[in-house]
Amino acid sequence: MTIDWAVVEMAIPLLAVGTVMTLKIASLAALLGLAGGIALGLVSLGGWPWARWLVRAYVDFVRGTPLLIQIFIVFFGLPLMGWRLGEFWAGVIALSLNCAAYVAEIVRGTVGAVEKGQTEAARSIGMTQGKILLYILLPQSIRPMVPALTNDVITLLKNTSLLSVISVYELTRSGQAIIASHFAPLEIFALLAIYYYAIISVLSWISRVIERRLPAW
């Protein structure tokens, strides 16, 4: 077996273009997913039983169905509701919705595990549940959450490759395009693996820096 180095050389800059798209989608979806997930997680610890129930149902749905199906539902469903956003935003929204559910579970687990005395002390100075979550429990939970959240962001980044099925021109899709025209699948898939691995290594490193920078008490 010989490696077609010419294709590899040609593919490197082309795949970089796809990488930019992957990073764009992943960072947008991570931002929306984290924000949404933290909000959902806090709601599931909050004082409204009906809202807790809704979040529960949402998380169950997301966990109980394949991401690929969720992507199709968003892609074909949004236009039916009158939103013609195109495949880029359909992809961002699908991944955000998926990520938010997993983040909500992490937030619920971590914030809910803060020692009970903290809640009691906050209640004793007249705080209501919302304020307790926001000012007392959440700030103490950020640091212990970082490793689990990093995991989710890594998963999210890898999941962007599924958007190739709705023809978002991200990293995997750009590789498939090269394979289609040059037929060098092994070279290209190996290159794709290296690209993803490099991106995720950087992510893990950033997460470790953040964890170290955050104060511990």
């Binding site: 004082g47 009691e120 209640r123 004793s124 100075i125 304020k131 103490q140």
Partner: protein, 251 residues
């Protein structure tokens, strides 16, 4: 407090507790562990909801109200409860300071987020209360940088900053090293002299004797004996009280 009852599952912890505390009084609750002293405090500010009985603070029923015709006891919603709770300060055995905040922020967060003071005003009030418990120079330390005695004094300042009608102390010195106990008791003694209304659960008999206006001895969910500390300590009427006092005083 009238006829307070509380059960956890099968076990009845409080079997009808009634007492009055007058403004400015310091009432001390003593008794063997498991007698329900802590539960009394936790029911007073509704950290636990009692199963039966009523609590009134300056004529206002706590935790619910008699609403409708005929009047029926209706528990208050959480937001209303929170409003009532801030009239009670609570000092916990294990301090329960907020570890992510400095001493001054621990004290200021109540005035700021609950009373709606500006950050400057809240921190000024916090600094004042910290000075009152002699911690002005430790304002900007986090709880983990403070000794147990200092932490408990921050907790007292945190309660004071809400300008409560009374403060409940739940074994405030039990988690402290013996040499740090006095600094917390001194602060509490000062508060009592300044006319703060206090209900204190403690095993510090010396403190009870010196500071209490009224002493209650509890056992098995009942009030066994109450009176002035002099009366209870020197001439206990009940056998249970005598045995308990003999045990704790001759350790």
């Amino acid at each position: 407090m009238q006829g307070l009852r509380k059960r956890y599952g099968e076990r009845e912890i409080l079997k009808g507790i009634s007492f009055d505390v007058m403004p400015g009084q310091t009432m001390v609750l003593i008794g063997p562990s498991g007698s329900g002293k802590t539960t009394v405090l936790r029911c007073l500010n509704y950290l636990e909801a009692p199963d039966d009985g009523t609590i009134e603070l300056m004529g206002e029923p706590i935790g619910g109200a008699h609403i409708g015709e005929p009047p029926r006891w209706t528990p208050l919603p959480e937001a209303q409860l929170a409003l009532q709770r801030r009239k009670f300060g609570f000092v916990f055995q294990r301090f329960n300071l907020f570890p992510h905040l400095t001493a001054v922020q621990n004290v200021a967060i109540g005035p700021r987020k609950v009373l709606g003071l500006s950050r400057e005003a809240a921190e000024a009030r916090a600094a004042e209360q910290l000075a009152r418990v002699s911690l002005a120079e430790h304002m900007h330390k986090r709880p983990s940088q403070l000794s147990g005695g200092q932490q408990q004094r921050v907790a007292i300042a945190r309660a004071l900053a809400m300008d409560p009608r009374l403060i409940l102390f739940d074994e405030p010195t039990s988690a402290l090293d013996p040499e740090l106990v006095h600094e917390v008791l001194d602060v509490m003694g000062d508060l009592a002299r300044e006319g703060m209304t206090m209900i204190v659960v403690t095993h510090e008999m010396g403190f009870a004797r010196r500071v209490a206006d009224k002493l209650i001895f509890m056992a098995d969910g009942h009030i066994v004996e109450e009176g002035s500390p002099e009366a209870v300590f020197s001439a206990p009427r009940e056998e249970k009280t005598r045995r308990f006092l003999a045990h704790v005083l001759h350790r």
